[in-house]
Every structure is written in structure tokens, then in C-alpha cells.
């Protein structure tokens, strides 16, 4: 107990030095956790952006559809499949689509696009394009051939709301047709790549023009939770091919894994810097108190107790600073999780990665505990070297030191 008392009081002996260590710990924890939260937030946004915009959690296609996007490879037993999907409670909503590759042309130019024929009421429940309109409405105003176009494509084609765009594509007999559609809405998602390559039209219009009435190329399924994805996949019994979001866009899964590794590497660097800070400060503290340590060894305090006393001092420093660092981190992550961090200056780069210009920080609760534990472990290990130095002091020499 007396060791605890001495160690605790030693912490406050040189307030400036202790404050420097504590501030380093606070900043170390805060910067580590905040960068983690930002990185996870970026990745989470990229994933949820992709899922909410075009991926959804699961997609069902004809087994051969993805080989060459043949228009005639429509989903097998569509209505039976619908019935099955209706009974799975973990499914929040699903959307049936026709998927046709074609060209969008205006007098300003023509660009390759993916044309999605959708049922707006279904699609609205699965993707958030309806919430990302920056102009116009969501395929519910114009009667004849309405379309939704991405902001980037609209800009390239030089079109605004109600402007005409000619869509060229092949029907089921491979005849090329060119039909004029009118822009009913312009959307801007987090992904500029998606915005410049995707057009939404009504299912009926596209089905009629291609002759694919009753056919469906794709069913996008949104589960209540992302974790339900695999379970829902197992429950669906169909000859069609079912892919999870991670199978369709493996780069998203890889990105998540990479980010996780990166986060630990980054945190490792922060903690290493922290460790050197602690070692340096504790070594200074030992040099300053050389004669006192010499006295303790002289009067009969054994080396184990001297060692414990020095390690305790470091632990106290960290125990004071760590909660402050964690609270600061929690508060700033919570605040920027709601209000976001405006990264407008690099928005172009972020949008090409499918991330919006405002980043919302996010950090699971368990990470706070992990980092706190890691910090404590680093602090204890950092104290070992200075403590060992103290043990090497020769009492007769140390007691005379000034």
C-alpha cells in the first residue's frame, strides 16, 4: 500500500513532466481512435453507399446472365421465387429489375450506360436513389418514357430536368432501337462512377421496348441487417444464381479487411511513439531521483518493490490520462458521427471511390476497450526499461548523486 501511496504522490511531484506524459497519452489515444473512427466511417459509408445505391445485400440472376449479359437470360420461375421471398422475414424489401446495356445520346455526345428497368415503388424500398434526387421527381410524374439520370452523366450530356435523351439498345431479337426518354429526375449518389453510368427507367417502358414483358434479369434484396445476408442466401431455394454483396463487389470486402489491418498498423505506430515518450520521461524521472532510489535500496527496499513502484507510477499516469483520452475520443467521434466532417476540398477524389464529401465518424464500442487495453499494455511495457535501469543503480553511488 505504501508503494501505491509513494507512486501516486510521485506522479504529482513534477506536475509539468507528468502533464506532458498525460497529454501525450490523451492525444495518442484520441488521435488513434479518431483516425480509426474516420477510416471506419469512410469504409462504412463506401459500403453502405454501394449497398444503398446499387448493390443491396443480395442479387439473384439467371445462372448465365452475368457471363455475357444476354437479354434473354431472365430469372427462372420468377413468380415462385417472389412467393418464397415474401415469406422470408429477414428480407426487408426486394426490387425486380431489367438490366440492359446501351448508349445514352444527346447532341452533346453519347455514352455507354446501364439501363435499369424498375418498379419505382419496389426500388424505393431497396435503394436510396429516391432520396438522392437533386432535381425532378422519382418516375411518378411524366407519363411517357420518363428516366432518372445521374448528375455526372446529365452534365456530360448537357441535359437538365425534362430534357430529352435518346437511349440506344437492342431488343430481345437483337434489333437496335433508339428511343427518346425524358429526364424526370437527376440523382447524385456518393459514387460518381455510378452516376455517370446508370439510368433508371420504368420496367413497363423497357419491357415493352425490348419485348421482355414478364421477364426479369435481376432481383436486388435488402435484408433488415447486413449480418442476415448469408442466412437469407441459404434460405432461398432457386435454380437461379444468388450472390452476396461481398461476392458481387469483392473489393468492398477487401477494403474492409485492408482498413482493419491498416488501423492496427496505424495504432501500433501511435502506441510506439507513446511508448518512447513514456520511456523518455520515466528515465528522466529516475535520473532526477537517483539519490532517493539509492536511499530506498540502501535502507532495505528490495528491487522488486522499487520496480513495482516505478511501473505503478507509469500505470497511474496512464490511468489518469486514458479515460480523458477516451472520453474526448467518444465525444468527438459521437459529434462528428452526427454532424460529419466536411471534406469538400477532396470531394472529387472521394466521390470516385464511392464516398460522399462529408465523412461521418464511426467506431464500435469494443474498439474503445481494445485500444484502452493496448495503451495500458504499452504503458506497462514502456515502464519496464526505465524500471530496470533503476534496479541497476548501485546504492552507494546513487545515494551520493545529486
Amino acid at each position: 500500500m505504501v508503494l501505491v501511496k509513494i507512486a501516486w504522490r510521485n506522479v504529482w511531484r513534477n506536475k509539468l513532466r507528468s502533464s506532458v506524459v498525460m497529454i501525450s497519452v490523451i492525444l495518442g489515444i484520441w488521435s488513434g481512435l479518431f483516425i480509426m473512427a474516420m477510416t471506419l466511417g469512410l469504409n462504412e459509408q463506401r459500403m453502405s453507399g454501394a449497398i444503398d445505391t446499387y448493390l443491396s445485400h443480395l442479387q439473384i440472376h439467371h445462372p448465365k446472365f452475368e457471363e455475357d449479359y444476354n437479354k434473354n437470360d431472365t430469372i427462372v420461375n420468377r413468380y415462385e421465387l417472389n412467393k418464397q421471398l415474401d415469406t422470408i422475414t429477414r428480407i426487408k424489401a426486394y426490387s425486380e429489375r431489367l438490366v440492359i446495356n446501351g448508349m445514352a445520346a444527346t447532341s452533346k455526345g453519347s455514352y455507354g450506360v446501364k439501363i435499369l428497368g424498375i418498379f419505382p415503388s419496389q426500388e424505393k424500398e431497396v435503394t436510396k436513389i429516391s432520396q438522392k434526387l437533386i432535381a425532378g421527381t422519382y418516375l411518378n410524374k411524366l407519363k411517357r418514357n420518363p428516366m432518372l439520370i445521374g448528375a455526372k452523366l446529365a452534365h456530360k450530356l448537357g441535359v437538365k430536368e425534362h430534357a430529352k435523351v435518346v437511349l440506344n439498345f437492342q431488343d430481345m431479337d437483337n434489333n437496335t432501337i433508339a428511343v427518346s426518354f425524358r429526364v424526370e429526375g437527376i440523382f447524385k449518389s456518393a459514387s460518381s462512377v455510378f452516376d455517370q453510368g446508370t439510368i433508371f427507367v420504368k420496367y413497363q417502358d423497357l419491357a415493352q421496348l425490348t419485348g421482355l414483358n414478364g421477364g426479369i434479369h435481376e432481383i436486388a434484396i435488402l435484408c433488415h441487417k447486413i449480418d442476415d445476408t448469408e442466412m437469407v442466401k441459404q434460405k432461398i431455394n432457386t435454380p437461379n444464381k444468388i450472390d452476396t454483396w461481398a461476392q458481387i463487389a469483392p473489393e468492398l470486402g477487401y477494403a474492409q479487411q485492408t482498413m482493419s489491418s491498416f488501423i492496427y498498423i496505424f495504432m501500433g505506430i501511435v502506441l510506439l511513439a507513446l511508448a518512447f515518450g513514456i520511456i523518455n520521461t520515466m528515465l528522466m524521472a529516475i535520473l532526477e531521483r537517483k539519490h532517493e532510489l539509492g536511499m530506498l535500496l540502501s535502507v532495505g527496499m528490495n528491487k522488486r518493490k522499487v520496480f513495482v513502484m516505478i511501473v505503478l507510477e507509469t500505470i497511474f499516469l496512464v490511468l489518469i490520462a486514458a479515460p480523458i483520452g477516451i472520453l474526448l475520443s467518444y465525444w468527438s467521434i459521437y459529434y462528428f458521427g452526427i454532424h460529419g466532417i466536411d471534406l469538400a476540398s477532396i470531394s472529387q477524389g472521394l466521390e470516385s471511390l464511392g464516398i460522399g464529401s462529408r465523412v461521418y465518424t464511426y467506431l464500435p464500442l469494443n474498439m474503445y476497450f481494445t485500444i484502452t487495453f493496448m495503451t495500458l499494455v504499452v504503458a506497462v511495457f514502456s515502464a519496464i526499461f526505465p524500471a530496470r535501469r533503476a534496479l541497476k543503480l548501485k546504492p552507494a553511488e546513487a545515494v551520493k548523486a545529486n
Binding site: 500500500m1 505504501v2 501511496k5 509513494i6 504522490r9 510521485n10 504529482w12 511531484r13 539519490h291 532517493e292 539509492g294 536511499m295 530506498l296 535500496l297 540502501s298 535502507v299 532495505g300 527496499m301 528490495n302 528491487k303 518493490k305 548501485k394 546504492p395 552507494a396 545515494v399
Partner: protein, 230 residues
Amino acid sequence: MMKVIQTQELYKIYNQGQENEVRAVNKVSLEISKGEFTAIVGPSGSGKTTLLNIIGGLDAPTSGKVIIDQTPIEELKENDLINFRLHSIGFVFQSYNLIPVLNARENVGFIMLLQGMAEDEINKRVTDLLKSVGLENQMEKRPTQMSGGQQQRVAVARALASKPKFILADEPTANLDSKSTGDLLDIMEHLNKTEGTTFVFSTHDQRVIDRAHRIITLEDGKIIDDVKVN
């Protein structure tokens, strides 16, 4: 009289075999009995502190033996030696060396805590010890709130706390004024007379030499004189 300290042909040689060889302690054999009030005197560099360090087990001799209360201390392992110091020797240092973050009471009690004594017993003994050095009103003060003389009195109380076989005091009055030196010597002499506490000082302070009952004079590490004073 029971021998508390015995040294047999003690040598401490620095840079042995080299041109700049120094014999800090040169064939010192002495015996100090229980209850003696001994001053080891000599000019600076005569080997007083080195001899005291070797007797206290803080430094190892190059050769020779130190026997404390029939225990040859060079045979003790490091941890046993530390434990031996804790239970058998009291130290008083020139610059007091109190723990600055503890008050007088805690500084004195600290040694007893290390010895594993019960808290009630510690409290009682601390009070008695601080009373015996005239600091009953300064118990809650930290070293920085006390004068040099008061700090050295706390150091004496601390040295006595472990009920040691003897107290080694290295230049205990070197940093004290005349009044404090007188007070400290009164206290130590009183403890020596009433409790039979054995004191061994290293000093070149005439005021201490004048009060010593035995004076051992060192020069170049050798005992050149050893007289008892009545």
C-alpha cells in the same frame, strides 16, 4: 561486550593493478561493540565513507571480511543482503535523503511497513520515535516544510525505526548549522545512553569528534589511530 561490527583485513582497491590504483580502504581490521558511540575521522579522501559503505553492505570490499553480529555479509546473496540491511542497519545520510512525497510520520513508518509490521504498532512506534527526536509537533510536515536539522532528526528516527543493531551515519552534520548539530548530537547521545543504540559516524566535524566516545582515525584508507575517550 558483544561485538556488533567486525572487519578483518578489509581492502577496497580501485583500478587494481593499474598505474592509477587507489587503495580507498587498506587492510582495515576493527571491532565495534554494542553501545559504542564511535566516530571514524580523517581528511577528505581518507576512505571514511567507503569503509562505512562496506560495513553497511552498500559496497563490496575487494577482499577481507565484514561480520555483522556474527553474520559474514559477503556471503549473503543480493536480496538477503537488502533484507539484512532492512532489519539490522540504520542509515543516516549527509543530505538526509527523506522521501519528499511523504510526511515525517510516513517517512519513519515506511521502514516498518517494509518490515511488515502491523499498522497499530507502526503508529505507536512512529509517535514515540518522533517524540524522542523532538518532532512531535512536526509529524505531518513534509521534508520541504522542515529545516535541515529537523529533516536530519527525522532521518535519525527513520534509522531507529527498524530497531537496528547499529546506526551508520555518514557525515550527518555536514549540512547543519551549529545549533542543529548540537541538537542532533544531544539526541543521538541520549539514545546511545538510554537505549544503548550503537552509532558509527564518519565525520570530519570537530563538534561530532568532541562528543564521540571512540575515535578511529583513517588516513589513505589505513587506521592510523584508534582511541577511546572517557
